[in-house]
Symmetry: C2
Subunit: 908 residues, 2 copies
C-alpha cells in the first residue's frame, strides 16, 4: 500500500494466462473475468467484469487485456492475427447479445473505446466515444431516436475525437471549423446549432481529415475499432501518462487494457442523464451519498463545464425509482468492495446503467475517517483499515493546509520539502525575516539557505528557495521545525541585493504577499486562507493507536530543542533519535563564543571559549532531558566543519579586496585579513568529506570533553530533580574502531569525573553513527566499541552514490526523469546500494555484539518505503522529524501487515 514502492509488473500468478486468452467478454450478468484481475483487465475492466457478475446494470462489452497491449508494443505496434481474430469474435458476440451490428445501417452497434490500466490514471490516456457512426449509421440513429440534431452531434463529436486521438490532427483545427460555422450562422452557443448546421460541420471535418491524412474518414466500423484500439494502446506512452507514472511510481512495463463497451446515451431527452458520485464524502470522509448529475447530457458536458451539474439529491425528486436503484446499487458496490466507491452512471430513457466503479481517491483526512468508520461498521478489520491510508496522507492531520477553494494563481512550483501551508510577506534575508516577522507573517525567500539563516527561518511562516533538493539545508531544517517549506523552485531568481525576485521574468518586491503549499510545492500569488486541523482528534488518535498495536519498530524523533521534543512526544515519539548539538551553536548568544573558539590559536584559548559555552549547552540538554523524561535521548557530538560557523570565504575575499582598494591603511583591513587567514586555513574543497564529525573531536579533544561534560552535568541535574534520564552519546562520522575508542575514552573519563563529583550516577550508552561506507564494511570491529548504531543515511547515501546532496539537484532530476534512478535516493532509501550496507552493518554489528541497539536517523526515517525496509532489516527504531512521527508509526505498522500477508501467501 505504501505509495513509494514502485508499482511493478504484474505478479506471476496472474500473468500466466493458461489458455492464451486476451479478450474478456462481459454481458447479461456474466463476465469472463472478475474483480481480482486488475493486472490483466486493468482497474476499469476488472470493475466492469465484477459489476456484471454482481448482476448490476452494465452495458455489455469486452476488455482487451493489458497483455495484449504489451504484445502490441513488443510486436512492432501490431497485434498477431490470432489476437485480431479473437477481437473480431468478441465483436460478433457483442453484436449477437445486443442484436446490433457494427457499421450496419439497419441497427448499428455503437461502442466506446476506453483505456484502463491496473492503477487509475485519471484523464491521462485516451478515449473514443460513439464509435460505429458513419455517413449511413448516423441516419439510422437520427431516425431511431427521432432526434437528428442528437445524431449529427454524436457523429461530429466522434469525428472530432477520432480525428484528434487516432489521426493525431490538432484539436484546434476542428475548433476552427466549428467556430467558423457558428460565426457564419451567427449563433453563440453550441446548442444553438441545428442538425443542418452540424451536417455542415461534419462536411468540414471530413474535408480536414482528407487533407491531413490523404484519406477519407474511415467508414468501416471494424477499421474504426482497430484504429481506435491501437491509439488507446499508444496513449500509454504519451508524455502526460509517462509523467503521471513517474510521479506515482507506476511501472512503465504494465501497459493499459482497452474496454470496448456498448454506448448508452444520457442525452436522449429528459428521461436520460449522466452523473458521477462517491459512496462517502471523499474530502471529509463523512458517510453521505455524494455526487452530481446532469439530465439530458453526456459525460463530457459535465467535464466541459458549460452546464452546471446538479447535486445528486435532486435526482431523488426527478426520478425517485432510478435514484433508489442507484443508491441501492452503489451501497451494494461499497459492501462488495469494502471501500468507498467512485462511480459513473448513465440513465438512458429511464434505464440506469453503471459505467464504472472504483475505489475512490480521498484526502488524508477522509482516508482516516473512512477507515475508522468502516471498522466500526464491521465492514473491514483494523489491519485492513491501517492499509487503507497512505502514511504520507497523515500529514494533512498535522499541518495547517491551504483552503483550495480560493483559486489563487499558481506562479511557480518547486519541491514539496516540508508540508503545510504558509502565507506571508516576502523577505529576502534572515535578518529581515526576524525584523519584519515581528510585524506580521513573512515568507523567507532565498537562493538557498545556510546555517546562518536559522534565526530567519525560525521567524518566518514559510521558506522558499530557488535551489536545493528534498534534503537540502532548507528542507531538512524546515521539516525539523515543522515549517512549511518549498525548495528547488528553479523558475525563481532571487536578487537579494535589490530585494526582489524574478518569477518567469516578472519581478516581485519585498513585502508582497505570497502563499506556499508545502505539500505540493506550489507557490501562489497573494494571501491564501489556511485551515488548521486538529491532530489530537478522536478519529486520528484511535487510528494511530491501532498502528501502535501492530508495529514492531520503535519510532523516535530528530529534535534539537525542548520545544521540538515536546511536539515529537505529542506525536508519539518514543525518544530522541538525533539531537544535533551544532544547531545550538548557531544561536545568537553562542555564535560569538563558537567563533572565538575557532579563531583561538592555542588549546588554552580554545578551552576558555568552550568554558563559556558549557553552561549554555548544559541548560539545552537539561531541557531536552526534562521534555523526554523516561525516554532515551541520543545526543550527537559536534559534526559540521568549523568554517560553517565563520563568515563565507569568498565574501571575505571580496570585502578585503574592496577595503584594500579603497582605504588600504584602514585598521579594518588587518582585522578582516586575520579572519580571512583562519577561514583560508579551514577552507576545504569538499567540506562534506573533510574535517568534520569525529575528526573534529579527535583534532580538538577539548570540544568532545566540553560536550560530554555538559551532557553528564545536565543528566545529573535532571536526575536529581527526580526524573529518569537516559542519555545516549553518539559519535559522528566514525569509519574505524579506533576513532570511536578514542572519543569514547574521553566521554567515559568525563562521565566518571562528573558522577564522582556529584555523587550521582546516570546510566548511559556511547554509540556511533554509521554514515560512511567503511563503517558498514567494518561494523563488526566498530561494534566492539559501540553500544548502539544509528544509520546516518543522508551521509551514507552521499558517499555510497558519490552524490553531494547540496549539489545533486542539477543531475538528480534528469536522472529520475530518464529512468536512471527510480526515485530520489535522498528521499527514499536506495535498497540495493545503501540498503545493502545497512543490512550488512546490522548483521555484522549484532554478530559482534548481540542485542546491539540499531536505528536510523537520516531523513529516510520518515519515508514510508524506507521505514518498511528498516522493518525488514530488523532495526530497532527509526527516527525522523517530529512532524513525520505519525507517518513512521503507520508505515511501521503497514510493514508488519505486508510482511505477514507475504508469509500467508507463502503458506498457501
Amino acid at each position: 500500500m505504501t505509495g513509494a514502492i514502485v508499482q511493478d509488473a504484474p505478479a506471476t500468478g496472474e500473468t500466466t494466462n493458461r489458455n492464451n486468452k486476451y479478450v474478456y467478454f462481459f454481458a447479461e450478468g456474466k463476465a469472463d473475468g472478475h474483480g481480482q484481475m486488475k493486472d490483466e483487465l486493468g482497474g476499469k475492466g476488472a470493475g466492469l467484469a465484477e459489476m456484471t457478475n454482481a448482476g448490476l446494470p452494465v452495458p455489455p462489452g469486452f476488455t482487451i487485456s493489458t497483455r495484449a497491449c504489451r504484445l502490441y508494443f513488443d510486436n512492432n505496434s501490431t497485434l498477431p492475427d490470432s489476437l485480431e481474430q479473437e477481437v473480431r469474435e468478441a465483436v460478433a458476440r457483442l453484436e449477437q447479445v445486443t442484436g446490433q451490428k457494427l457499421g450496419s445501417p439497419e441497427n448499428p452497434l455503437l461502442v466506446s473505446v476506453r483505456s484502463g490500466a491496473k492503477f487509475s490514471m485519471p484523464g491521462m490516456m485516451d478515449t473514443v466515444l460513439n464509435l460505429g457512426l458513419n455517413d449511413e449509421t448516423v441516419k439510422t440513429l437520427a431516425a431511431k431516436t427521432s432526434n437528428p440534431r442528437f445524431a449529427y452531434d454524436c457523429y461530429r463529436r466522434f469525428i472530432q475525437m477520432f480525428g484528434n486521438v487516432v489521426l493525431e490532427i490538432p484539436k484546434g483545427d476542428f475548433d476552427e471549423i466549428f467556430e467558423g460555422v457558428k460565426k457564419k450562422k451567427k449563433v453563440h452557443l453550441d446548442t444553438d446549432l441545428t442538425a443542418e448546421d452540424l451536417q455542415a460541420v461534419i462536411a468540414g471535418y471530413k474535408k480536414l481529415v482528407q487533407k491531413k491524412t490523404g484519406k477519407p474518414f474511415p467508414q468501416d466500423g471494424h477499421e474504426q475499432l482497430v484504429m481506435a484500439r491501437n491509439a488507446v494502446f499508444r496513449s500509454w506512452y504519451n508524455p502526460r501518462a509517462a509523467h503521471y507514472r513517474r510521479m506515482n511510481n507506476i511501472s512503465e512495463s504494465l501497459g493499459t487494457a482497452v474496454n470496448v463497451q456498448t454506448m448508452v446515451f444520457g442525452n436522449l431527452g429528459n428521461t436520460s442523464g449522466t452523473g458521477v458520485g462517491f459512496t462517502r464524502n471523499p474530502s471529509t470522509g463523512e458517510k453521505e451519498f455524494y455526487g452530481e448529475f446532469l439530465m439530458n447530457a453526456q459525460g463530457e458536458d459535465v467535464v466541459a463545464g458549460i452546464r452546471t451539474p446538479v447535486p445528486i439529491a435532486e435526482l431523488e425528486k426527478e426520478m425517485p425509482a432510478v435514484y433508489n436503484q442507484l443508491r441501492e446499487t452503489t451501497t451494494r458496490l461499497e459492501q462488495h468492495y469494502k471501500d468507498v466507491q467512485d462511480f459513473e452512471f448513465t440513465i438512458q430513457e429511464g434505464k440506469l446503467f453503471m459505467l464504472q466503479t472504483r475505489n475512490g481517491k480521498r484526502t488524508g483526512k477522509a482516508a482516516v475517517k473512512v477507515a475508522v468508520d468502516m471498522v466500526e461498521e464491521g465492514l473491514i478489520t483494523k489491519a485492513e483499515a491501517l492499509q487503507r491510508v497512505e502514511p504520507a496522507q497523515l500529514d494533512q492531520w498535522l499541518h495547517p493546509v491551504l483552503d483550495e477553494k480560493q483559486g489563487l494563481k499558481v506562479i511557480a512550483k518547486g519541491l514539496p520539502a516540508s508540508p503545510g501551508a504558509a502565507v506571508g510577506h516576502i523577505v529576502f534575508t534572515a535578518d529581515e525575516a526576524v525584523k519584519q516577522g515581528k510585524k506580521g507573517p513573512v515568507i523567507l525567500v532565498r537562493a538557498e539557505t545556510v546555517p546562518d539563516d536559522i534565526h530567519g527561518m525560525e521567524a518566518a511562516a514559510g521558506i522558499l528557495t530557488a535551489r536545493g533538493g528534498m534534503t537540502s539545508h532548507a528542507a531538512v531544517v524546515g521539516r525539523g521545525m515543522g515549517k512549511c517549506c518549498v525548495v528547488g523552485c528553479t523558475s525563481i531568481t532571487v536578487d537579494e541585493k535589490n530585494k526582489r525576485m524574478l518569477v518567469d521574468g516578472k519581478a516581485m518586491k519585498e513585502g508582497e504577499w505570497i502563499s506556499l503549499d508545502g505539500s505540493t510545492g506550489r507557490v501562489f500569488l497573494g494571501k491564501a486562507h489556511t485551515v488548521d486541523p486538529d491532530p489530537t482528534s478522536g478519529v486520528f488518535a484511535k487510528f494511530m493507536s491501532w498502528a501502535d498495536e501492530v508495529r514492531r519498530l520503535g519510532v523516535r524523533a530528530n529534535a534539537d530543542i525542548p520545544r521540538d521534543a515536546q511536539v515529537a512526544r505529542r506525536f508519539g515519539a518514543q525518544g530522541i533519535g538525533l539531537c544535533r548539538t551544532e544547531h545550538m551553536f548557531f544561536a545568537a548568544d553562542r555564535l560569538p563564543h563558537v567563533q572565538a573558539m575557532i579563531m583561538a590559536e592555542t588549546e588554552k584559548d580554545r578551552r576558555k571559549s568552550l568554558a563559556k559555552l558549557l553552561p549554555m549547552q548544559r541548560a539545552d540538554f537539561a531541557g531536552l532531558f526534562r521534555a523526554m523524561e523516561g525516554l532515551p535521548v541520543i545526543i550527537r557530538l559536534l559534526d559540521p566543519p568549523l568554517h560553517e560557523f565563520l563568515p563565507k570565504r569568498e565574501e571575505l575575499m571580496v570585502e578585503v579586496a574592496l577595503l584594500k582598494q579603497k582605504s588600504p591603511r584602514s585598521p579594518k583591513v588587518k582585522e578582516k585579513e586575520k579572519i580571512l587567514a583562519r577561514v583560508e586555513q579551514l577552507h576545504e574543497l569538499n567540506p562534506m568529506l573533510g574535517l568534520r564529525g569525529c575528526r573534529l573531536g579527535i583534532t580538538y579533544p577539548e570540544i568532545t570533553e566540553m560536550q560530554a561534560r555538559a551532557i553528564f552535568e545536565a543528566a545529573v541535574k535532571v536526575t536529581n530533580e527526580g526524573k529518569k534520564v537516559i542519555p545516549e552519546i553518539m559519535v559522528p562520522l566514525v569509519g574505524s574502531r579506533q576513532e570511536l575508542a578514542l572519543q569514547k575514552q574521553i566521554v567515559d573519563r568525563v562521565a566518571t569525573e562528573v558522577f564522582e563529583k556529584a555523587g550521582t550516577k546516570v546510566t548511559y550508552l556511547v554509540g556511533t553513527m554509521i554514515e560512511v561506507p567503511r563503517a558498514a564494511l567494518v561494523a563488526n570491529e566498530i561494534a566492539a566499541e559501540a553500544e548502539f548504531f544509528s544509520f546516518g543515511t543522508n551521509d551514507l547515501t552521499q558517499t555510497t552514490f558519490g552524490f553531494s546532496r547540496d549539489d545533486s539537484g542539477k543531475f538528480l532530476e534528469p536522472y529520475v526523469n530518464q529512468g536512471i534512478l527510480q526515485q530520489d535516493p535522498f528521499a527514499t532509501l536506495d535498497r540495493s546500494g545503501v540498503g545493502a550496507l545497512v543490512r550488512m552493518a546490522t548483521e555484522k554489528g549484532r554478530e559482534a555484539r548481540p542485542g546491539l541497539e540499531v536505528g536510523i536517523c537520516g531523513e529516510h526515517g520518515g519515508d514510508p518505503s524506507s521505514v518498511e525496509f528498516c522493518h525488514q532489516v530488523g532495526l530497532d527504531y527509526v527516527s525522523c522529524s517530529p512532524y513525520r512521527v505519525p507517518i513512521a508509526r503507520l508505515a511501521a505498522a503497514q510493514a508488519v501487515l505486508t510482511e505477514s500477508a507475504g508469509e500467508k501467501g507463502r503458506t498457501l
Copy 2:
C-alpha cells in the same frame, strides 16, 4: 617482504612457548636458540645464537626474549619472580662459563646490555656497556689490564651511559662535569686526560647521580643488570623508536629482546681493535670486502668521529691472521645466511670476536645487483632473488638521484610524492616556470597546484608544494610525468604575490637555487649534483625478466600522451590502463574551445566547440594507439567537473567587485559578470560528489559522442596504417547499470557510424570504473552492461572513508600518528574497507559475466602492498604511472611467491 605490509605480531607457531622459557643462553659453540627465532630472540639475539651454533667466536651471553618484554609491560613494568629467577640462573651459568663473577673484585664479569627487536631499528633503542664495573671492580680491571687509564675511562663511560639511559639524567649534565675537568686540566682532547683526571670525573658523576636520584650510584652488579634490562625494555616506547616503527610499519606489539653478553675490549692496546663491515658493497652491490676499523678503540669511538676509521684492507697488513680469520668467518656467514652480511667485530689482544651479524641494508641499486649476482653464484634461487628487493627500491634505477656526498643543507621536509632528484631556480607560477624554464632548470613552488598549472609543471624540473598529500594534484601529475615532486611541505609558506617563500621564517626569493629529493621528501638549499642511472642496464633487465616469469598479474600504465606511453612501454607496461582525456583538454590550444563549449547556452553552440576539439582529440588518440601498437588502451571519457576548466569563482568575484568599485561602467564588467554567472551556475559545494564523471556525459551526451568519434576515427586511421589497435572505452563514476547503458548506447551508435563510413571495423570494449561504493554493491547489475571493470581506488577510497583527498592532509597525518590508521589509505589500499568492496565487486561482476576483465587504475596500482592485494583478489592487471611499472611488476611476482610460500606452509 613488501615494506608496506604491517610488520605484525609474531606468528602463532613461534609465540607458543612450550616450556615457558624466557632466557636463551649461548656460549662455547652451543646456543639454546637458533637463527630462525627472530620473533622470540630479536634479530640480534637470533644472530648471536646462530653464530654460536656455527662455531664462530662469539663472546658468551644470553638473550631475554621479546615475550619477556611484552610480559614486562603487561605486568605493570615488572617481571614475575619466576622470570627473575631464570635471569639469575643465566647469570650464574655465564659466570661459570667465563670463570668470572658479576661484581666480584677478584675476577669481575663485565657485560653489555643491548636491545634487539625482530626488525632492525638501528640506534633507536638503548644500550649499556661495561656493566658490572663499580668502585672495586674498576681497580681489578686496572690491575689486570695494567692500564688504569683504560679501566677508569670504562667506568666513567659506564656511569655516564647508565646514568643517562637507566636513571634518565640528561647527557648534558655529564658533559658539563667532563668539560669542567678538561678545562681545569687545560687539555683539549678527551684522550689527554689521565687516569687521575678520570677519577675526578667519576667522583663528579657519582655526586651528580646522588643529587639527581637521591641515591648513590648502584654498586651491586645484579641490581645494575636488572635496572639496565628494564630500561632497555622501556626504550621500546621512546618517541624515536615509536616514530621509526610508524615509518617502517613495524607493529608496536612486538617488543624488544635484551641481549646480555660478556664484554670484550678493542681498546686494550695495539693488538686490540674494533670494526664493522659488509660482505659486499652496500651502495653498489659489487662483490668486495667492505668495511672499516680502528685499532685500540671501542665501537663508540668509531661513531663519535674523533678518530677516522681505516679501510678494512689495512687490517691485512697490520694483523694478517686476524684479517684472514675475519674474511673466512664472514664469507662463511654470507654462505650460511645466503645474503650480504653487515657484521661487527672486536679484536681483544689479538683474538677475534664476532659481536653481531645481520643481513645488510643496501641501496636499491645494490639490492638488484646482489640478488642477480647471488643467483649466478648459485647461492640463491631466482625466487629468493626476487624477494630480496623491496619493489620501491627499484625507483633508484629509474630516476636521476641526488649525489649524497655533497652535504647540502636540508631546509625542509615534505612528502616524497614522486621520486628522483631535481635541481633548479625557484619560480612561483606556472607561467614563470615556462618562461624561466627556457633559460635553465626551475623548481615550481606552489601552495598547491591546480589543473591550470600543467604547462608549468611540465616545464619545471621538479615540483614543490606546501599543501596536499600523496595523491594531491601535484603528486599524481608529478608521478604521471615521472617528475620529481615533494608535496605537503608544511613548513613552507608561499607568498606568490611577492615572489618569495618563507622557510621557517627565512625568506627565499624567485631565482634562488634549491634541490629536491623526491624519494625522501627533502628540500636542500643550493644546487645539488644528480646522477642519472641507466634503467635498461643488463642486471636490471635480467632481474625484471625473472619477475615477469613468475607474476600472474598484468601490469599496465596510466598515461595520457604518446610520450608517457612510450616511457611506460619501455618500462614493461602491457597496455594503457587509464588515459585521462581531460588532461588533453587543458592544453593551451584546446582550453579556449573547452571554455567556449562550457559557456555555450545551447546544444548547438556546444556542438560547434566540440567540433573544433574533435580533430585534436583524434590526433591524441592516434598517437596513443601507435605508441601502444598491439596492446590494449583504456580511454576514460571526460571526468572532472566543468568548472575546473573555468577561472576560479572567488577570484572572479574579487575581480568583478574591484572593477565595479573602480570603473562601474567599463565594458569589462559585463564580460566578467557573464563568465561569473556561468561559474556560479556550475559552482558546487562538494565538486568531488557533484556533476562529473558519467553525469557529464548523461547531461551533455554530445561530449560523449565527440569523444567516442575521436576514439573510433583514430582507431580506424591507425588500423589502416597496418597497426593493431585495441581500444577500451571507460565510462567514469558509474553507480547504476542504467548510467552505463545510456553511455554505452551512444558509444556503440557512434562506432557503427564511424565503421560504416570508413569501411573498417575495429574490435573494442566498453567498460566502467568502479569508484563509488554503490558500483561495487551492485556490480552484478553493472556487469550486465560492462565488458570490463577498472577500480578507481582513489575515488573509491574517498567515498568509502568519506575522506576528501584534497583536504584530508589536515587530519590524516594525526590519524596515522595516533594509530587510528596504520597507513595513509590513499597510498596503500585499505584492505578491510575499500578492499572488501574491491573483492565484492570482482566476485559479483564475474558471477554476472564470467571472464570479466578486472583491473585497478588508482594510484594504488603502483603500491606493492596494494599490488599484492590485487593479486590475492584475482584481478587481471594493475595500472600505475609509467615510472612505477617496474615496481608493480616486481610486487606482482612477490605476491605469487608469498602466496605459494603460504600454500607450502599449509601443506607441511
